[in-house]
């Protein structure tokens, strides 16, 4: 069954604004990852945060993880039109007996208007 659940489902902002997406999950995890998918393309890995980490940065991306609340957030600062894409969280861990695979959420569709 589905593990991650992103919120909101869709987000529309102006260029230069910050975008925040949230992800909630159900079971214990070893790590959580965020991926981006441009329309008609494959998924591209953005960042991985381990269960013992609380915050991680990569360029304009900031990811937080709260294992007590089973939630994560992805912040994109100073957004650009090129950030327009769907963003997915994915969790790993001993899930349903299928250890090693990633469980993806339904994604947040981000639209950044120039």
């Amino acid at each position: 069954s589905q593990q991650g659940e992103e919120d909101p489902q869709a987000l529309s902002i102006q260029e230069g604004e910050n975008a925040t997406m949230n992800c909630s999950y159900k079971t214990s995890i070893n790590n959580l990852q965020w991926y981006r998918q441009n329309s008609g393309r494959g998924l591209v890995h953005l960042i991985l945060i381990r269960s013992n980490e609380r915050e991680k940065h990569s360029g304009r991306l900031r990811v937080t993880l709260d294992t007590s609340k089973k939630s994560s957030s992805l912040l994109i600062t100073a957004s650009r039109a090129a950030d327009t894409a769907s963003y997915f969280c994915a969790t790993d861990g001993d899930y349903g007996g299928s250890q090693g695979n990633l469980i993806f959420g339904k994604g947040t569709k981000l639209s950044v208007k120039p």
């Binding site: 890995h45 299928s98 090693g100 695979n101 993806f104 339904k106």
Partner: protein, 113 residues
């Protein structure tokens, strides 16, 4: 220098036909996957192979048969196609046990009429 490549990118076929999708990775990874993305963008794992051995089969109908001739290739053959098989199929690869990122192909959009 494409890392994970899938062919074909688009596939339109009739119900009942048999079709194959091919995947190759040149990253030297030992684990490859097939994921299915439905019309609502929900991405679900189908199969995982490690060094040509099947390690994950997520309750996929046996009309779907993956084949891994070597660790750089993972093909997906689908028999007796049904309307519900219409989706985008993604191949991905990684190094097993590292719990790291997956590298995805560009997807193969299958439309069953």
């Amino acid at each position: 220098d494409t890392a994970v490549s899938q062919t074909p990118k688009y596939l339109v076929t009739q119900m009942g036909n048999d079709k194959s999708i091919k995947c190759e990775q040149n990253l030297g990874h030992d684990t490859m996957y097939w994921y299915k993305q439905d019309s609502k963008k929900f991405l679900k794992i189908m199969f995982s192979y490690n060094n040509k051995e099947l390690i994950i089969n997520e309750t996929v109908p046996n009309r779907f048969s993956p084949k891994s001739p070597d660790k750089a290739h993972l093909n997906l053959h689908i028999n007796s196609l049904e309307l519900g098989d219409s989706a985008v199929y993604f191949c991905a690869s990684t190094e097993f046990g590292r719990a790291g990122e997956l590298f995805f192909g560009e997807g193969s959009r299958l439309t069953v009429l």
